[in-house]
Amino acid sequence: MDHRFQVSLRGVIDLLSHHLYSSPGVYVRELLQNATDAIRARQLLEPGHAGTVRLELMEKQDGSPPTLLFTDDGVGLTEDEIHRFLATIGESSKREALEARRNDFIGQFGIGLLSCFMVCDELLVVTRSARGDGRTLEWRGRHDGTYAVRASEHPLAQPGTQVFLVARPDMAHWFTATRLRNLASHYGGLLPFPIHLTTGQGTERLDTSGAPWRREYDSASERRKALLAYGRELFDTDFVDCIPLRSTAGDVDGVAYVLPASPHFNSRQKHRVYLKHMLLSESAENLLPDWAFFVKCVVNANALRPTASRESFYEDDALAAARESLGQSLRGYLMELAREDPRALQRLIALHGLSVKALALDDDDFYRLIIHWLPFETSMGMMTLADYRRAHPVVRYTSTLDGFRQIAQVAGAQGLCIINAAYTHDTSLLEKLPHAVPDVQVEPFSSADLPQSFDELTLDEREATFPLLRMAESVLAPFRCGAVVKKFYPAEVPTLYSSDAEGAFRRDAERAREESDDLYAGVLDSVMAASGSEPAQLCFNLHNPVVRRLAAVADRDMLKLSVEMLYVQALLLGHHPLNAQEMVLLNQGLLGLISAQLGGDGGRGGEGSGGAGPRGLH
């Protein structure tokens, strides 16, 4: 008797192949999943039943498409169950329905079979239930939606299920010995029972030997060696270390491998995950907490829900709990390194500092344990926070790279040790320090703080440099910049330009304003009027020979020109782009200096030959 499906099977197959599955090859996974479920169900009835799966590829001499026979000795189906799985197929046209039915044995069986229609037009299922009356039934279904159920003329000797697939001509390449071997090992490599593959070349047993992390090893180092070798084989990477993973939530276990290089932030690690020992996905992303991007994992989960596509886990409370406890496994590993093998921890930090820092920000205990091992760039070279604090009672840092550049050279020469905390998380980590460790002083530092460490002038020097200072003040006032004269090291640095972060932003806005028409010029004026930046400051260094000589120059034009040029030079050294007005200074100043050289004798700016503009041309 022929029946008809209640739905257009075409639509369902289309849904599966175009929207759900990433490749037609998953039909092997789905059949293996069905076989696994069936064997597990039979083991519940008959403890001790070992279970075997057989794949037999029958290639035709005449070149017509091959047939695959897929056999398991699992629990089999009763007639009633056959009708139930057919009902599932009927309901399967919606993704949500698929997802729900995945979780029961029969539902999964039906959906699994549907995936076969991606590679063949006709399916024959022959089955005998371990729970039924001993009859063997067969179901023959076609992609057009017709099917027939009848008692089989070829009864099976034992309970189990056989699925016959005749390859569709355009899909015959999914039915070669190599493909089948690869696909079956790929998806079923962790299964705790054998898979036999029979082809024209004979019968072979595929390597399915259970999860290597559950095996017994002679020693810890043997274990480590074996697991690292397994990792290399899976991911084609030489990992630095392996970390056991375990979570009661979701019943998850496996191994996390420490990557040999820092991963790119955006490339979230793709993990290899098995569900009840069947490969679910090689690119699961939602398994670990965000901070843990320094490892790549292989795990098996027995109690997490797969998504409809069976290619990742469904985001629910169980997964959240599992993620939390896998994170704890990794955290435990890092804590142990910090206690037992700080050198290894430091190597790990060198590679994966970002992960370690991200965790430390969220986790106070972990923070206290590792913060002093973290290396920081300072104005006196790289050092760990422990070394830093040994030599410097107050922790000082700049939170921008620009800010650090402006001060690093001078601070270093002045014996000031300042941390460059511009790298991700560093500022937050340092600001957390006083809350985690009692009695530590932590202070932000900027170029504006530097002059406080500089030596004041003597009274004589003060008098001698006064004309220079007055000139500098009047030259720099239009640029919102003040002037001071002090003494600092290194002596080669003639001036230091300092401004706060707001000041740099203000300069950005000024440049944008120069490029803008009425509309945005007005908007930017408002932005600048609202910005609360302190005026910048140019600090002259009296230790510098040029500045010393400049203080003695009597020619006011020469003095003005020199101050302007020192100002522009200080800006450029500090990577501050020049605005239009400052560009004018630079251009006129260069011309002025050249004309001073040409017009004056021996380069001493005398008789009004120095100065800006066309004066040299008269």
Binding site: F265, E515, Y520, V527, A529
Partner: protein
């Protein structure tokens, strides 16, 4: 020499590309821009600003996005062949869509910037719907007459979508505000359902939505659902200052449900963002919620001082971490009131004063509901 700085710019760009949205990324790109400008390389300056606008927009620095865009817009006007305005239409939308959040920008400047967008879009015969949505949002946020806001709302939704329209999910999220304004709580939830179920998402959705629906859920008494939304939503916004106002919504929810300790944890964790946040609208939402929270702590009446780890940049920072609740309340309320005044003065309306007055209504609605699962 010249190859040297170019490599440096590229390396800053690559570093920034490897970072999540946030301050570090913005700082790196600012530096790349400055380096390009130092060497007067307009093309490079344009390209780096192009990336900076994105990073600043999605990292909580709309003022920096504005300055970078203004520079680019200047280049486009000078040389539209080389710097095609069309390629920056989306960024222009982001930037202009937010300038109303700066109280120092005048109404006229906001209107002019919107007109500029309209002119630009018109030149390519597209973007009508996008502009109408921006006009609706500007009118709504500046507290314009209800009929005008309603007219723009209808005009927006009646206009045909095109390639300059925000994605359906973002538009859906924006529609929610309209219903929340009118107290149509059921409607908010009905429309938000596909987002809440996780079937639809975008760069900042559901992050924003999960904050928007808290009060509607609270009003409808769906407290368990609200608790789940709070847990899920707060985790998504805790790392990016772009979501300051959403953090405010979570804080308000915690105060409404009498989870005061949890609320104070949010206050101490995010006050640093509010102190120097460029969006005064976001600051306002945060401070108003903080004031409500502290008012609840005062109302509980059992303590005058709370221990908080507030950032050093807080003007009344206490080294020992002990803060007088009354003083802290007065300070946050003062901040919210100042901002409200500035906006209302600029807008010539009283919307922000009304928003602040809402705190008194909330005080009468408090309904304790524990967020922590109590130990049995």
């Amino acid at each position: 020499m010249s190859g040297d700085w170019r490599e440096q710019v590229e390396s800053l760009f690559a570093q920034a590309d490897g970072l999540a949205d946030g301050e570090s990324k913005v700082r790196l790109l600012e530096e790349a821009v400055r380096l390009a400008d130092t060497h007067k390389d307009v093309g490079m300056g344009y390209r780096m600003r192009d990336a900076l606008i994105d990073a600043a927009t999605f990292g909580g620095f709309p003022d920096k996005a504005l300055v970078a865009f203004a520079w680019c817009r200047g280049q486009q006007k000078k040389d539209p062949k080389r710097f095609d305005p069309e390629e920056m239409f989306w960024k222009q939308k982001w930037v202009v869509g937010r300038i109303k959040e700066f109280p120092h920008i005048t109404r006229k400047q906001i209107q002019d910037a919107l007109d500029d967008v309209e002119q630009c879009f018109k030149a390519t015969d597209s973007g009508v719907r996008a502009v109408l949505k921006m006009r609706y949002q500007a009118a709504r946020e500046m507290g314009d007459a209800a009929e005008e806001v309603e007219r723009l709302w209808n005009a927006w939704l009646e206009t045909r979508r095109d390639h300059l329209t925000d994605c359906r999910v973002c538009e859906l999220d924006d529609e929610l505000d309209h219903h929340a304004d009118k107290g149509e709580w059921q409607q908010v939830l009905r429309k938000a359902k596909p987002i809440l179920d996780g079937r639809k998402s975008c760069a900042e959705i559901p992050h924003l939505t999960l904050g928007t629906v808290l009060y509607p859920l609270f009003k409808l008494g769906e407290l368990e659902h609200a608790r789940e939304i709070h847990r899920r939503g707060y985790a998504m916004v805790t790392k990016n200052r772009e979501f300051l106002s959403t953090v405010g919504e979570h804080m308000e929810f915690l105060a409404l449900t009498d989870n005061l300790s949890r609320g104070l944890t949010l206050l101490e964790k995010h006050l640093g963002w509010a102190l120097d946040h460029p969006s005064y609208r976001d600051r306002f939402t945060f401070y108003a919620a903080a004031a409500f929270l502290l008012e609840r702590v005062l109302a509980a009446g059992d303590r005058d001082v709370v221990s908080l780890r507030l950032p050093k940049t807080f003007p009344n920072h206490q080294a020992d971490g002990g803060y007088d609740v009354r003083a802290l309340h007065a300070w946050t309320l003062g901040q919210a009131r100042d901002i409200a005044n500035r906006f209302d003065t600029r807008n010539g309306t009283d919307r922000f004063a009304k928003l602040l007055a809402r705190n008194q209504v909330l005080a009468g609605e408090v309904r304790p509901f524990p967020i922590e699962k109590r130990d049995q």
